[in-house]
């Protein structure tokens, strides 16, 4: 299968099975469409030009870079745990209007994870990790920095235990920035492999949604903390991570604003909310979102050429050194190699399932994982998501987020079409960006 598309006047061929990317002209795209039985426009086409195109196509086909055959490989999933998301704090010092975690409580009571639970979770991860050498732990909330003392003890404990068992721990923390003072920033920079900072962009956009417990906008409270943190961070990984809603469908301006503040690693994601919520993205907004991604890609390239470049998470695609087939079809690993742990030590497939008792998979203190629930996720992959069969983006999203699929369609194997549409828009832009930066 070859996907033909155009961005900003440039035409491309994306060979889905090999992941090879080619640039072409409009006529070549039409010839490819014809070969695939798609509607095309070839009336009056120069016959000599069409013969040249057919010769090029034959050459690329021979090299396996166009119309490549689908692989028969069906990579098996490991049952060895790789990562835990520790809900180190089911409480938050902010009150964001779109919070999926119900202001940090996940529809439960406000509580902190004790060191005993965190320590047992680390032991549980090591014990269930088999021969894996690299293990990941994500400190998540609510707001994790409200429980910093336990985080520090947990990191020290995991490093010690990792050495004893031949494991290396990589830590990630997601924060709203309210408690990100200089001392904490230095500690995080020493210990965290990646830090995700939540900021939605322009002050008025951010403050309309991301409010403090007193109902005030949070921008002025956090922005200097984030700037100082990144200044101290050096070349270590971080992301400024925003969410866009129905209220800022011009979210590209928020990405640009964040870049203007000096941040270089930026991710802005569509909000996930039930249909009918005033902030949810309605289906009719999808064409505007597609255009906004395209506008952003143009500005993104312009800034790169001017030496003012930054990285937008979804516009960075690695064709040459991207993931193996196993990763591409098995996705994030939620519910199988990646689990979340609540402050009580309860296990769930991931943070997005943590308020759903139907997905309770066990507890770190009893050391067992519910095989029936794990089976749902272990047996789910790109190959069980039939809707993805004809989609050109399938090896880039693996059939979508299992939690989104379940929450919108009641089935982890049934992708939610609006997120598919956004994924396809982003991937076309990312491939265009890749081609343009190779010029």
């Amino acid at each position: 299968m070859v996907h033909t598309f155009e961005v900003d006047g440039k035409y491309y061929l994306f060979d889905v099975e090999s992941s090879a990317l080619h640039e072409c002209d409009a006529l070549t795209a039409e010839v490819i469409k014809k070969m695939q039985g798609q509607p095309c426009f070839l009336e009056g086409a120069d016959e000599e030009a069409v013969r040249e195109i057919e010769a090029d196509i034959a050459e690329l086909k021979e090299k396996g870079l166009l119309f490549a055959e689908r692989s028969d490989a069906r990579p098996e999933k490991s049952e060895h745990l790789k990562a835990l998301c520790l809900h180190i704090c089911h409480d938050c010092n902010m009150r964001c209007a779109y919070c999926f975690a119900s202001e940090g409580t996940y529809k439960g009571e406000r509580q902190m994870m004790s060191f005993e639970v965190a320590k047992t979770a680390v032991d549980f991860l090591i014990a269930n990790s088999g021969d894996r050498k690299i293990l990941e732990t994500d400190f998540f909330g609510g707001e994790p920095l409200m429980n910093l003392d336990v985080i520090k003890k947990t990191v020290a404990y995991a490093r010690d235990e990792g050495k004893k068992h031949g494991k290396t721990f990589l830590f990630t923390l997601t924060t709203n920035g309210v408690l990100l003072n200089e001392e904490t920033a230095k500690w995080l920079n020493d210990e965290m492999e990646n830090v995700v900072m939540s900021l939605d962009g322009r002050k008025e956009v951010n403050d309309a949604i991301r409010k403090t417990v007193n109902g005030k906008g949070s921008f002025d409270y956090i922005i200097e903390n984030f700037k100082r943190f990144v200044k101290l961070r050096g070349d270590k990984s971080y992301y400024v991570r925003g969410t866009f809603t129905n209220k800022n469908l011009d979210f590209g301006k928020d990405v640009e604003f964040i870049a203007d503040l000096g941040f270089k690693e930026i991710s802005v994601e569509p909000v996930v909310l039930p249909k009918g919520h005033p902030l949810a993205i309605p289906d009719e907004a999808l064409p505007a979102i597609r255009e906004e991604y395209r506008r952003l890609s143009k500005e993104y390239l312009k800034r790169k050429k001017e030496g003012r470049g930054f990285n937008f998470f979804h516009f960075v695609v690695d064709i040459e050194g991207g993931p193996c087939l196993s990763k591409r079809v098995n996705a994030c690993g939620a519910g199988n190699e990646y689990l979340s742990v609540t402050p009580k030590g309860d296990l769930y497939p991931c943070h997005q399932f943590s308020d759903n008792p139907d997905f309770l998979m066990g507890n770190v203190f009893d050391g067992r994982i519910n095989g029936e629930i794990r089976g749902i996720f272990k047996n789910s992959s790109l190959f069980t998501r039939e809707k993805c069969d004809g989609c050109f983006a399938r090896y880039h999203c693996s059939g979508g987020c299992a939690a989104n699929n379940y929450n919108f369609n009641g089935n982890v194997n049934k992708p939610y079409e609006p997120t598919c549409e956004m994924m396809r828009s982003r991937l076309e832009c990312a491939l265009h960006v890749l081609a343009e930066t190779r010029q």
Partner: protein
């Protein structure tokens, strides 16, 4: 080749992974399942070894 210009070709890679890459949700997305924009840790690490020779 006169009409088509190849922009990028993937490295030859195994279908079964080493499992050393990050879990996708540990990166920046958290809600959009995005695996295609991750790099293979093995390829990037071996690339670094090549560069240092």
């Amino acid at each position: 080749m006169t009409r088509i210009k190849t922009v990028a070709v993937p490295a030859k890679r195994n279908s079964v992974g080493c499992g050393e890459c990050r879990s996708s949700c540990q990166s920046a997305c958290k809600t959009s399942c995005t695996v295609g924009n991750q790099s293979c840790k093995k390829i990037s690490r071996e690339g670094k070894i090549e560069e240092n020779k």
